[in-house]
Assembly symmetry: C2
Homo-oligomer: 354 residues x 2
């Protein structure tokens, strides 16, 4: 199979971790006889530094021309502390999601048995957890109109959804539920928000087409609670952009570390694959970042964008084996970890490659 992959390292630890995602793709191509070609492009703070634009035109063109995109991370502390900055790294990520029509963000919460102890949740609460989040990605308060009054004392964002936006992601989530545990939990705040009431109406409509799937509607506050209380009860979780942002980060703690979670953004065209962790500037360039989420992003790319199941499995098996052999990065190490097996980004990447 011939595929052209765009690597967008982005900011902070992005470049370090995507290096290993790419290395794994090369290894897979070699082992399974595929031909993967690569290109690289800038986004976020890196884009601003080079061109003044968090999503340079060239990056968008390259993205559209590629078969899949491997992304690192975005963001810079400089902008976080300056709420009045006009140009911000995150705008690049939001714009590429919109431009590529990446309306569905899939975040699987998989649990590696070896990492049960790295979580703050009790192992008996965790064991058996297997959740697939569908987070809507191109609507909601993220993209609704933003306003600031002239005296700068009032600010607003419009939380807005249209029927078709909810429909298309609901269908994807129900399709996934059909080949999984046939349970779907839709999360909203329909007791307060009109956008959530529309959300719930549409999901109720789509649910009728999937009578085999057991549908539950849950308020976001309750969902945030249940996720800690009893994560096992969830199978497919379907939710809006903002609620999905919050819930999936919370759920990452279940998997032991953000460093262990990847996400796939899909929709109208090219798929976009990235770790769910951020740019983590505090550890950037120190060979401390966990490359496994980037490598897991590659597994998602192989499976979802290229339909290469065996290749995807080879990647997750390699991660599994590395963990079984006792190797850990700092973020997933615990009191029982053999200190000599706590590795930096590079050595961890190499272990998986081997």
């Amino acid at each position: 199979m011939k595929k052209h992959i765009l690597v967008i390292p982005g900011d902070g630890i992005g470049p370090e971790v995507t290096t290993w995602g790419k290395a794994v793709l090369e290894k897979i191509a070699e082992k399974f006889g595929h031909e993967f070609t690569f290109d690289e492009a800038l986004m976020g703070h890196a884009g601003i530094e080079a061109t003044g634009n968090p999503l340079p035109d060239e990056t968008l063109e390259k993205a559209k021309a590629s078969d899949a995109i491997l992304f690192g991370a975005i963001g810079h502390i400089k902008y976080d502390n300056d709420p009045s900055a006009k140009v911000r790294p995150e705008q690049g990520l939001l714009k590429i999601r919109k431009e590529l029509g990446l309306y569905a963000n899939l975040r699987p919460i998989m649990l590696f048995d070896e990492l049960l102890d790295a979580s703050s949740l009790k192992p008996e609460i965790l064991k058996g957890t297997d959740i697939l989040f569908f987070r809507e990605l191109t609507g909601d308060v993220y993209f609704g109109e933003k306003k600031r009054s002239e005296d700068r004392n009032t600010a607003s964002d419009l939380m807005i959804y249209s029927r078709y936006e909810v429909e298309r992601i609901a269908i994807k989530a129900y399709e996934a539920a059909m080949v999984r545990g046939k349970k779907l939990c839709s999360v909203d705040k329909a007791n307060v928000l009109e956008a959530s009431r529309l959300w719930r109406e549409v999901v109720q409509d789509i649910a009728k087409q999937y009578p085999e799937v057991e549908t539950e509607h849950m308020f976001i506050d309750n969902a945030a609670m249940q996720l800690v209380k009893n994560p096992k009860k969830f199978d497919v979780v379907l939710t809006a952009n903002l609620f999905g942002d919050i819930l999936t980060d919370e759920a990452s703690q279940i998997a032991g570390s953000m460093g262990m979670l990847a996400s796939a953004s899909i929709g109208d065209g090219t798929g976009f694959f990235e770790p769910i962790h951020g740019s983590a500037h505090d550890i950037a360039g120190q060979d401390k970042a966990n490359p496994l989420a980037s490598i897991l992003s590659v597994a998602l790319m192989l499976e979802i964008s290229f339909g290469l199941k065996d290749e995807a499995k080879a990647v997750t098996d390699a991660i599994d084996k590395t963990l079984k052999d006792g190797y850990r990065t700092g973020d997933i190490a615990d009191a029982n970890t053999d200190k000599s097996k706590i590795l930096g980004t590079k050595l961890m990447g190499q272990k998986v490659l081997e």
Copy 2:
């Protein structure tokens, strides 16, 4: 001391639990020589059933005339599954918050040592956690304009904040931080939302008046994660209405159960005290509900609205003792609980009274 207290039992398990809150207030009056008088009023589904209005005029009048309000819970499953219902129980709660100017919702996350094992978090992660949330309660997407297009296919809610709304709650939160651990974490989503950028600007301004307090700004997705990962790191948490709704419910898991958490809503006038749990219709009327959150609401009322510290302490001591004696309601029982000490609402209420 003479005080007039309005009891609003509300829906579901509300009446069962407020009965015990009220009984504790009577006991305290007797023991400490105060004169507490009581009245009762309807709200929520109970209000709709009786008058068609989730907040009957009479309730609002009585509320304004009282020195403090003890509230139960709100909501009914009937409306949750009907997103197109025009009149909803929750409107009563939202309206009374707005009418009484209850802009600051205080939610202390206290940990009773006896309940360490009831949480899904590991005891070593939990131990020492002591968080005071300040959730803004009369602004945000809760109260911004709601719209539905004529064809009903598009729906929106306006997320909106003005400077003074952020200022007044920020000041309350900083004042609390000064008499606690002198650490404040403000939670927003300033990398995406304009309302959050205003929020952050204002908090940065107020922070300058409290140089002794260590201020941190955190994105909501990260906060939802850190709360599970390392709850001990938080002292005072300041956040907007919607984010606060989500974070405090999530945090309730830390305290072992929602049944153990109370909240105080304060602002321009009469204070409003309630458990953070919902109406829990599935167990309503079955003598299963945990009355401790309502009793803890009473402790908050005694301390915050009436300035009666010793009385408040007598209440929390009584709860402490009951737990130490091994008594539990079902929600906070665990594998080690002596089965004969698992009590219903009534017996638990009585134990605390004793």
